[in-house]
């Protein structure tokens, strides 16, 4: 899902960087010292998740974990994912420094969207509702990421629909796996630390 360097044209890169900067500034504004350890941990989780390779599918796909990131952090997943992507670019040569903005938006924005779509549902009392919402959160975050990647590739020579189809199909197994991972995380957190899930709403920040 990381777009390599030299694929995209300058306008796309600049737009991506601007959007990422906006998201990060919103995230940083909402960050307080209680939240920092959580951001760091989820950043690390994102950082290592890309190394978990899913052998099914026609291409090289890996876990993304932006659903959980978005669900637990909200807008804070922008800084969290930026840090992880920067380190991945430097240490593993995944993606690259110039495409950092676009990649950050592609991964973090779906997280934020899923936070608004499913965050409330996940913190519901009823177990079944919250678990279904958790699964959808992991599932749709990857789906949206795929669509965003396809969108950012439109402006190079490739056309949208075939690329989008290809990416979404390739990430089908990842979506399902991430849905299940998110589900288990939520089930675990509900039992051990329910404030983590509803915390952001509770504080009203």
């Amino acid at each position: 899902m990381h777009i390599s360097e030299g694929v995209m044209s300058a306008p796309v890169l600049i737009t991506g960087a601007a959007l990422a900067a906006a998201g990060i500034s919103v995230g940083l504004k909402k960050m307080d010292s209680d939240k920092i350890p959580e951001v760091a941990v989820l950043s690390s989780v994102f950082f290592v998740a890309s190394l978990i390779h899913v052998p099914i599918g026609p291409s090289s796909v890996h876990l993304i974990i932006n659903g959980i990131n978005g669900l637990l952090l909200g807008w804070l997943c922008f800084p969290s994912i930026l840090v992880a992507l920067t380190l991945q670019a430097i240490l593993f040569q995944f993606g690259g420094i110039t495409v950092l903005g676009v990649n950050t938006v592609n991964m973090a924005l779906p997280g934020v969207i899923c936070y608004y779509l499913f965050g409330r549902l996940v913190s519901r009392e009823r177990r079944i509702v919250s678990l279904v919402a958790a699964f959808s959160c992991g599932f749709f975050a990857v789906l949206f990421s795929g669509i965003l990647v396809a969108l950012s590739l439109v402006f190079t020579e490739e056309s949208f629909m075939p690329v989008a189809k290809l990416i979404v199909l390739a990430h089908m197994p990842v979506m399902i796996i991430e849905g299940i991972i998110t589900l288990f995380c939520v089930a675990f957190l509900k039992r051990v630390k329910p404030e983590l899930l509803g915390g952001i709403y509770g504080k009203g920040s």
């Binding site: 899902m1 990381h2 777009i3 390599s4 360097e5 030299g6 694929v7 995209m8 960050m31 307080d32 010292s33 209680d34 920092i36 350890p37 959580e38 951001v39 760091a40 941990v41 950043s43 690390s44 989780v45 950082f47 290592v48 998740a49 890309s50 190394l51 978990i52 390779h53 026609p58 291409s59 090289s60 796909v61 890996h62 840090v83 992880a84 380190l87 991945q88 240490l91 593993f92 040569q93 995944f94 990647v149 950012s152 590739l153 490739e158 690329v163 290809l166 990416i167 390739a170 051990v192 630390k193 983590l196």
Partner: protein
Amino acid sequence: MEKVRRIQISLLILFVASLFVISIDLPALAHKVTIFAWVEGDTIFTESKFSGGKRAINAQILVFDSQGKQLLEGETDRKGEFSFKIPRITDLRIVLNAAMGHKAEWTIPESEIKQAIGAAENKGAPGSSQPIAVSLNKEEIKKLIEDSLDRKLRPIVRMMAESQSKGPSVTEIIGGIGYIFGLMGVALYFMSRGKKKNRENCND
């Protein structure tokens, strides 16, 4: 107390996650595409794969000369390989365009192509098929050595290309996690300093 527990749980999750990662076969993981090209006689061979070692099938290959003019275009076969005759003696830039935003390139310098063509022509020359003891001037010996060196070194060059596409090592992963926690420390430090100042101001 509340905060401490939260951090403890977070750390526990991280620990379990990293164990999970490390226990999985590491080299077969990453997410990058590479192309490797070499010259043999008058043909250029390329090999493309994702860094997990998976071949890049049906990926587009573009060949450019030193001025950036496109010379030819092709597609990798089922083994991720693609070969073509040398279109022109110049620096060749071979670009691999795998789908979904994956791209890589490899440049073959003009000198390498010239050498390979020279060696191929020499191989075909009648002199080389005669008994060696008869007549070998300096030039011929040099060519023969170069020729066999080329052949012997090829697997090594290939091996180097393979190692280039290895996934990230455990050290790098742990290092990355360390960086993130370092950043967390810095952020917490500055935040707590700000709070202290506020508190002191209140006390005054």
